[in-house]
């Protein structure tokens, strides 16, 4: 009996940690979808790029972890802005844009993934941890790094919340998410708001990639796994709902930890599929369906 409780508490701790990382990653996806209605099928590689840029700045430019992360996130923001301005904006004006944007982002993601693979090779890269050492609480072992991750995620969510609720651009984004035509009538520049939203989401996703890479490992291909998890999370939370995505990330992170404990990590994928299926059948609008950002 004690043994089961011990296992479950350990699963709970690791589920909370991975859940918080997934939450930040899914937020990037949900901001883009909520504002622009683009579903980013290159989401995984965006996260991986954030990690790779950080790794590059640490190993080649000799920066510390924190400055490297800041620079990488800034670079991701600029890339997002440029990508939106040069390619996505013209595509959005075409007929059938929903479909061409999906295929375009998929193709771009694969192009970028293979360029990363070609440049840096298939070997696993890792980023140093924020804090080393660990402590023991009863029978649960927790790394200081994991505590740091949870704190960082909570801080990021607070900052993101502030950006969305209090700054001018954030309010514009929420207005666009709630009513596109209404926002246009009161004088919000849709094109610029879309661009900033896409860039912000790219930066957030890149940052979540850095955090994921410090916790797990990183290869150019790992983005696919992260992305599909992000998809299930945002659908579970309700497409375009930021609060829903955070709740869903924790629920699914815990579910994943329990599955790994009792069935083995091989079964995580098919079970994500079945969870997705059940969500679609029972509550297709998601946990927080209908609410925007």
């Amino acid at each position: 009996m004690r043994c089961i409780i011990k296992e479950l508490i350990n699963a709970f701790v690791s589920g909370t940690i991975s859940g918080s990382l997934y939450a930040l990653m899914a937020l990037g996806l949900t901001i883009v979808y909520g504002v622009t209605h683009i579903f980013n099928f290159g989401h995984g590689i965006v996260a991986v790029s954030g990690g790779y840029f950080t790794w590059l700045f640490i190993s080649r430019a000799g920066m510390g972890l924190i400055p490297a992360t800041v620079v990488a996130v800034a670079v991701m923001f600029v890339i997002g802005l440029i990508l939106y301005r040069t390619t996505l904006n013209p595509l959005l004006n075409t007929e059938n844009w929903e479909f061409s944007v999906i295929i375009f982002l998929l193709g771009l993601g694969i192009l970028w993934e293979n360029l990363l693979l070609q440049t840096f090779g298939p070997r696993v890269k890792d980023i140093p941890k924020f804090l080393s050492g660990r402590f023991k609480l009863g029978f649960v072992r927790i790394n200081y790094h994991e505590i740091a991750l949870i704190v960082i995620v909570i801080l990021s969510v607070v900052v993101l919340n502030f950006i969305l609720k209090k700054t001018w651009f954030g309010q514009a984004m929420r207005a666009v998410a709630q009513d596109m035509d209404g926002a246009r009538i009161v004088g919000i520049n849709l094109k610029r708001t879309f661009g900033v939203a896409f860039a912000l989401a790219t930066a957030v996703t890149g940052f979540s990639g850095v955090l994921l890479a410090t916790k797990y490992y990183m290869t150019p291909h790992i983005g696919w796994d992260w992305m599909v998890k992000g998809f299930v999370i945002v659908v579970f939370g309700g497409l375009g709902s930021a609060t829903g995505a955070v709740y869903a990330a924790f629920i699914l992170g815990l579910a994943e930890a329990v599955i790994t404990l009792y069935l083995g990590s091989m079964w995580v994928w098919p079970i994500w599929f079945f969870m997705f299926l059940i969500i679609l059948l029972i509550r297709p609008q998601g946990l927080m369906g209908g609410r925007t950002l």
Binding site: F39, F99, F104, N114, F276
Partner: protein, 317 residues
Amino acid sequence: MTKLNWKIIAVALAMVGVAVYPLAHGDMYIMHIFILFFIWSTVASNWNLLMGVAGITSLGNIGFLAVGGYMSGILAKQFGWSPWGCMILGGVAAMVLVTLLVGLPALRLSGIYIALLSLIFADSLPTILTQTRTITGGAMGLHDIPPFFEGMTRMQAYYIVFVFFMAMHAMIWWIIHSSTGLAFVALRDSREFASALGVSEYREKIKVFAMVSFMTGLSGGFYVHYLGDISPTTLGIEPFLLTIAMMELGGIGTFMGPVLGAAIIVFGNEFLRLAGTLRLAILGGLICATILFFPGGFIQLIGWIDNRLSRGRKNER
């Protein structure tokens, strides 16, 4: 009657050329490439029927192919049944499984859900295959699958798959021009008006989804019985990307587009092998460039040439 223009003549000549090729020249390797072209063109045309014609953004069609192929291969190998019956059963299995698991839940929702669900479906198949190693051969794949009949030669296989290719394309042509195809045109032009006239979007979508999954599963059967093996690498990123490139490059939403795209990609891929590991990057770039600069694909190019030709003729008069 449609006017006999150079496009119809070109297609007819190409078909005759393909039909007599094994008798006239009959290089083993080129015949193999042609057979692959027949199979992949069928897969791409089916996918295009789903995406381009019906507007269902499915991303898991390679998964349908794998389900049909594995089913057919396992039945033929384990039970020694006739490959012909097994291929039909494989197609039916793909249809039932995919329509139940992916089509029914996701098609009643908006477009993005079907893309997500079908992508995750195709991505979770390799895990299931490696977990059921005793039946499916796991990561090593299924080998020594019996051919269409004992002692099959390359030329016989060529004609069998050629007939299959023609039959499937006739079927797709028929679907596009049937009431189902017409319903999608109506839905695209005005959803409200079409549904007011009694077109049920959900029912038409399920119908075309079931047909496409059946035909794609059947292609999977032809694929495994011709090649003799299948492994989870079929579900990897490369076949997926190649098929998407076939549709985009050829011209999505048109009947001839995917066939043309499949011809370019299957024969071009042999040259792309020289690029080695950069191949996938080149394909990804090609897809992006096509969408950005040439959204209509090669069919658009041909239409443009056609326009110029007819205008030139008018000027002469």
